[in-house]
């Protein structure tokens, strides 16, 4: 019930509950140049070239550079190891994509459970809170070891033996706890007046959540959701502790065989290269939502 709120709380200023989040504010490093004109741009170009040139010069002429280059940036080893790493990286992609789908669903259920009002829902709220407390506290690698080795060891009929299955379950359990908190922050950021006007139309609690609260909440938390997705992506490498041959394992093997660290660098690059487009995609989603809401109708 909405009761118990002070009477003034629903009466925020117009639009108080509906201010669109300005997702990409401050993310444009080059934006200040717009105001500077040609002179400013020239200064920016020269100063950038000078600073980065000096850094490059200092690194490349340092006495240790040849050794660093050989151990970390060997081009032959790089290209040789990259294809093997990419092959195994497809397994990581499978792990984090499948896990993410379940994380997004389970976390939303948890967040909604925790946002339910009314005394009847107390057990659900406690359950959701306990879940979050538990799986946010325990190290991800521990959960993977526990389930990946422990669950098959039970030898119970019908329980899968596949290590990859249990690894994905472990990642889903841990990341749902984080993502549930992100969703919950989004749900709480929706102004109570939005709930009041939906309920005033005669919508049930469930429909108010579904049509009014959750859609607004999810739009607001897209950037932090991406954060957790990237975290999950990186933690797919932890599955290697079960002996599963994924990309990091592959990099480790190649590195050991070649007495060289370049394969690690190659894998690091793979992670960077896939993460950047994801970040731009989310920026674009946020910007599109904002544009749509502020654009004239008719589409």
């Amino acid at each position: 019930m909405i009761g118990g709120q002070a009477p003034g709380e629903f009466e925020g200023l117009p639009g108080g509950g509906s201010t669109p989040p300005t997702g990409d504010r401050g993310s444009k490093i080059l934006a200040p140049l717009k105001a500077e004109g040609a002179g400013g741009v020239a200064i920016a170009v020269v100063s950038t070239v000078v600073v980065f040139g000096l850094i490059a010069f200092a690194v490349l002429t340092s006495s240790g550079w040849p050794a660093i280059k050989e151990l970390f940036f060997d081009p032959t080893i790089f290209w040789d190891s990259l294809s093997k790493i990419m092959e195994k990286f497809s397994r990581n992609v499978f792990i984090f994509v499948v896990a993410e789908v379940f994380v997004l669903i389970l976390a939303l259920i948890l967040a909604v459970m925790r946002s339910l009002r009314g005394p009847v829902f107390t057990p659900l709220r406690i359950l959701a809170a306990a879940y979050t407390d538990l799986f946010r506290a325990v190290p991800t690698i521990l959960v993977i070891l526990l389930l990946g080795f422990g669950a098959p060891a039970l030898q119970i009929k019908g329980v899968p033996h596949s290590d990859i299955f249990w690894a994905i379950v472990a990642l889903v359990l841990v990341y749902s706890a984080y993502v549930a908190e992100v969703y919950r922050a989004g749900i709480q950021s929706v102004h109570p007046s939005q709930v009041a006007s939906a309920r005033a139309l005669g919508l049930s609690r469930g429909k108010t959540m579904r049509f009014v609260v959750v859609p607004q909440a999810v739009r607001r938390v897209l950037p932090p959701l991406l954060n957790d997705f990237i975290g999950l992506q990186k933690d797919s490498a932890l599955v290697g502790v079960l002996g599963y041959q994924e990309a990091l394992r592959q990099a480790q093997i190649t590195s050991a065989a070649e007495f060289d660290f370049t394969p690690y660098v190659a894998l690091a690059l793979v992670y960077i290269v896939i993460t950047i487009p994801e970040a731009r995609f989310v920026d674009w989603l946020v910007a599109r939502d904002q544009r749509r809401r502020q654009a004239a109708g008719g589409v």
Binding site: M1, I2, G3, G4, Q5, A6, P7, F10, E11, G12, L13, P14, G15, G16, G17, S18, P20, S193, Q194, A196, S197, A198, R199, A200, L201, G202, L203, S204, K207, F211, V212, P215, Q216, R219, R292, R293, Q294, A295, A296, G297, G298, V299
Partner: protein, 250 residues
Amino acid sequence: MTETAALAIEGLHKSFDGLEVLKGIDLEVREHEVVCVIGASGSGKSTLLRCINLLEPVNAGRVLIEGEEITARGVDVNRIRQHVGIVFQAFNLFPHMTVLRNVTLGPIEALGTTKGEAHALATELLERFGLVDKRDDYPDRLSGGQQQRVAIVRALAMKPDVMLLDEVTSALDPELVAEVLNVIRELAAGGMTMVIATHEMGFARDIAHRVCFLDEGVILEEGVPEQIFSSPRQERTQRFLQSIIDAGRM
């Protein structure tokens, strides 16, 4: 009274954390009647309206709509709210939905109206209030006056028996007040039963069949607008109206 009142409030009490905001309200509103509730900020006007459609649970007393006690145990509040439209000071449109979706959400999801019917009714209402060209816009694009008119249309689309208007012009720039008041005048002319909390005294005088002066949680004085505004009996009513006149608002 021979006929059943559209809305009857009996001995309504409401407190927030021990602070008693409404201290026993009795009010009857007949069908097609327009009642304006006036009073200082904090006198309980908004709380009174919010209790009528159960957005605030009441502590004591009864509220009856068309003779049905809605404050009774086991009453389906969702069904009750479908018959009581409320419009808020701050519009409270859904910012992630177009105007059309804002107006059709209630009929489709709460009343179970078909999409086609809901769209037809919404379009008809938007047309009537000069908003049909905004139907595909998002609320952020609209002026305050337009947003508030959409909010009124959203409530009307539920075909309510009673409309509650909670200081619907207080958040508007002065030049936008008239367009919203005109919509309400039109509703009154069409026979809509309304309870209006307002600071627009001229408007209240104009539109109300009856005016209630709410003071410290009770209806201190009520009567026809003529009487309340021209010869208020209670000293507190006189002082309140004098302060409005002093502020140049009447």
